[in-house]
Amino acid sequence: MRLLGVEFRRAFARRITKLVFILSIAGIIAAGLSVFFTSKNETIQVTARGPKIAGFVDACTRGEPLPVDSVPPLPAVGTSARASACQTFADQLTTDTIDKRFHLTNLLDILKHVSAFAAIIAWLIGASFIGAEWRSGSFGTLLTWEPRRFRVMLAKAIAAIVVSFIIVMVLQALLVGALYPSAVYHGSTAVTGSGDFVHFPTAAAFWRSLSYLGLRSGALAAGAALMGFAIGAIGRNTAASLGAGFFYIAIVEGAIIGNFVAKARPWLLVRNAIVFINNTRIDAVPHRTPLQAGLITFGYAVALFFIATLVTRARDVN
């Protein structure tokens, strides 16, 4: 436990940890301000355009030519369903262009996209946590105090995982806090109903969904930190870990296996991570449930860690 405590202290005291945290907070503040000043409460404008939309719906209901590139399949002219379908079509066409409000429910999409960024940050934290030690030589010094390398590796890995998880959770909370005023003053905080932005039965259900997404994102970051740590330990270098991670994800998975080895696709790291974060099946890996995807992702991370530990135990420390 002492070893773990020391590793936590060191992890939080590291400059890169502080730097990543400060830069992320700066980014969050910038994002909050940007969204606040670019979003507008345009409910009034929507109303003002009402007659134009009404004319579009009327023309659509009567089966007249419409000023759009393509029209989706609609019920036959003259049926009662036609008017309703035309109204939905008009809503779809106009929502993006005229609704500049920031909806609280947008946070779900934002956190999903941010999870990839969080995973990269966590990979960096994990990789530098061990890579910097090898570079400075302090890993050897530590081994003269605790020669059991498995314990040392485990304590460091746990510290990297927990620190990454905490940082990502705090940053997500700050991001939600930074964007919330935009929803309150320049948008909508409504989350219940059946529209595009409001589809939760209760507000609690929305917050629960957002929290679970945050937790999944934090968990993915923890897994990424463990992978970064493991590869950093094998390569004894931070840059090696970052380079190997990029090479594998962009080249091996993205360009080679993803395109040419169909059987391997369900086992690809990125696709499983996407299923896990989205909490829904995707076409690329239709048979993979989110739970399975999460377990596979962490299985890879844990396997890498054990390989790294075996390598560290076997190699000399010069």
Binding site: L3, V6, R10, T144, P147, A314, D316
Partner: protein, 303 residues
Amino acid sequence: MAIIEVEALHKEFRRLRGGRNIAVDGLDLTVPDGGVFGFLGPNGAGKTTTIRCLLGLVKPTAGRTRVLNAEAKRLHTVIDRVGSLVETPTFFPTFSGRRNLRLLARLDGIGPAAVDNVLDRVGLGDRGDDIFKNYSLGMKQRLGIAAALLREPELLILDEPANGLDPAGIKEVRQLLRSLADEGRTVFISSHLLGEVQLICDRVAILARGKCIAQGEVADVLSRGEAAQMVVKVENLQGALDILKGAGFEATLEGDELLVTAPASDGARISRTLALKRIYVSELRPHAVSLEDVFLQLTEGGL
């Protein structure tokens, strides 16, 4: 009782372009409990590799090491009784010296007062809050020694502890190591500063090409140097030289004295030989052999 035992230690490193480099070649070493033990050898002799093997940093290719009666695999059971410094001390570069030591101290539940104490002891009391990467080599070395002292260890294993220190620092470290030995600890040091080693060590081992070529008390090792010589001073140097050679001694003229290859026990015979020829000795003493002389003679092949 031996506090360090090394038996048939063998360590090979693979070369990048094939082949193997033998760093330690069947080393046998016994370090008794107490005192200061000097571990000497030229560059590349295998000193640091041996120390790394003792501390579990490097796995021997063959042979075994025991520290405080613990085999290498059980090193963790005694590591809290061992303080060590391997080559240039390495700590977290962006942390202060004090913070680095406090992190290490926490591993053993050692309080901050002990950290302050060892910093004072090595002369870093007022520089402990400086960032480690800004330390001079000598300060880094002092911090490394401080870290080694933190546990109040029974055994100190120090690899070149005086490396980078100025003359005053070297003297301080010498006094510190001697005082630690006088407290009953065993100090095992590798060093190139043979004059320093001779001043503080009770026993030494000399390593060359990975093998131990001499081991024992300093006086014993010194006696293994060049054949014993006697210094003879007389007024008539040339006459004395001829007489001694005529009497079967091997003698040479060195400046204002003669060097006669003979053990100290032959002093009376030398004196009598010269006196019989009416040459009277003004000074007759054994020629002092330094550890450096012995070291150079014994390691000549390895240099």
